[in-house]
Symmetry: C2
Subunit: 328 residues, 2 copies
């Protein structure tokens, strides 16, 4: 085919609409007072990158369209469930431009609703009837928990290596991108070497995605999420730009101490936070981190050169570009 | 065989020890500061009734011992994960004779640790390589959430029917007993009619188990759990003995009003609670509820008459008896 696909979202729209349908069906819950809250949350979900990657990973092969749609709905719902718990852990007030569940319901109810969404997502994975898909699904959930626990237990500490950071964001974010691509390839019945290559693709795209997220947090904050710039720092979460910035500082210098005061939570004044954010911005650390994200995005493309369908390959490449072009 | 097994726990001990091993391996977590807490919690788990039922359900057939042990560890870990979240929801201080995780860790960490245990339990289910087992596993988790959400949303209300109560405890408790028996029968490769019969057996045993729990809460409370008698009432949880007691009262009578004050949370004085508990005890409602539990236990036995192995049948019957003979 000679048509260059310039918009993966338009081309994949019919499939994504089927995913949407499955998703809304799975998110139905028998409690009128929360049904709308859950549906709003599911409907407000951004670009559906994870389902998209899953669908595309299976697209070039003798794929099983119905199971691809089912599994795609499963990964999006797993993502949603993990956001629900994550917002409760962080006591976040806004998500996807709306008040979080935990800002309108007792935290106990939110924990159980998150569990309910996990259960529904697991049922979608199970409905593929593929033990291997289910196994990837379960181990991805374990990876996500590992990443989130690492973020919590390593919070408020400046002595973090880039390796620790990468391990953490792999768990928290990239594992589900990797798992989505792997599940799609398996359901599509891709040859084993392609399954592994697509998993690598997903992993690299996911790493790029999270690094960009971390840069955006310092560059502009997010009006939509209701977060000021530097929100991660106030949570004690040390991300790549901060690691890069700190590596250029002399330990115990005034700038180092200011940073450490904010990260450790010892100083909570907005003025101090703003000053540290300005210093990070001025150091060039955001650009350095963006280059890292672009490196992951470029590497992701190298994994898919063997994919048999040119249009699919171009759409996978487009997703890697989209991830780096995001703004908050 | 002519030997009457009088102690299912002794006979099944070698298998249960293998389950224990799998369980401890799955509960390992890469965070030294919480590993011991998780292991303590897993080790302190009572009689292992759910794994036992799963093992026994597969025992009489051409069973697959390794997968039975794996799935048995899976259901126990699912149970543990759900207790972790449940204790967080209830803000419980003690569980299995020890401080709960949420009394020693920030609630965010406990939510994530519960999720981690869910993930590990799902991995055990997936390791059986049986799509049907995984599917039952996932739908059981959905049933548990449904039961817990019902308990929460129906809390503090006296206008509850017995049907609503039964639906709630099926989800909260009996669904996992039912699912355990069903999974065991499937892994053991039992004929389909036996799979269904064993599921019914598990369901009835689970219903008996929860009713006895609810009676014990009013009869004696639980020193081990650190709960005084009538703890459920203080949580606004209306259980079978209370439903039976209330059905004998004239609406708006003084006794009704006292009960409603406690259930609604309007009156939180210990003296009022003690008086209401005494009135429930004096009404014969505890005995009536126990007869209901015994009815479920007796019915559970009727489902297993076709089981091909007499020793296994006797052990399944023994479990039904054990459930009704418990004390707090």
């Amino acid at each position: 085919m000679d048509i260059r696909t310039r918009d993966v979202f338009a081309t994949m729209r019919p499939d994504l609409l089927r995913v949407e349908e499955r998703l809304e069906k799975a998110a139905q819950i028998d409690f009128p007072m929360v049904t709308d809250l859950i549906l709003d949350l599911v409907r407000a979900g951004g670009k559906r990158l994870r389902p998209l990657i899953l669908l595309l990973a299976g697209r070039a092969y003798a794929n099983d369209q119905d199971n691809l749609v089912t599994a795609a709905a499963g990964v999006e719902l797993l993502h949603t469930a993990s956001l629900v718990h994550d917002d409760t852990v962080d006591r976040a007030g806004m998500r996807r431009g709306r008040p979080t569940l935990n800002s309108v319901l007792p935290s106990g109810a939110v924990i159980l609703l998150g569990d309910f969404l996990f259960a529904q997502s697991a049922m979608l994975a199970a409905a593929t009837n593929s033990p291997r898909v289910v196994s990837i699904f379960a181990s991805t959930l374990a990876d996500i928990c590992d990443g989130q626990l690492r973020e919590m237990f390593f919070a408020h500490r400046l002595d973090q290596t880039r390796d620790e950071y990468e391990r953490r964001i792999f768990g928290k974010t990239a594992s589900l991108f990797a798992g989505s691509a792997e599940m799609g390839a398996i359901i599509g019945d891709a040859p084993e070497s392609h399954v592994q290559a697509l998993r690598q693709y997903g992993s690299d795209v996911g790493m790029a995605f999270q690094i960009v997220d971390d840069v955006l947090d310092l560059r502009e904050g997010s009006g939509q999420l209701g977060k000021p710039a530097g929100h991660d720092l106030t949570q004690g979460t040390v991300t790549l730009p901060t690691i890069i910035y700190a590596s250029g500082l002399t330990a115990s210098s005034a700038a180092w101490t200011r940073l450490e005061d904010v990260v450790s939570g010892a100083v909570g004044e907005p003025a101090q936070l703003r000053r540290v954010v300005e210093e990070i911005r001025g150091s060039g650390a955001l650009d350095a981190a963006m280059r890292e994200a672009e490196h992951f995005a470029a590497r992701s493309k190298s994994h898919i050169v063997a994919s048999p369908d040119r249009e699919t390959r171009e759409m996978l490449e487009e997703i890697a570009d989209v991830v780096c072009e995001r703004s908050a």
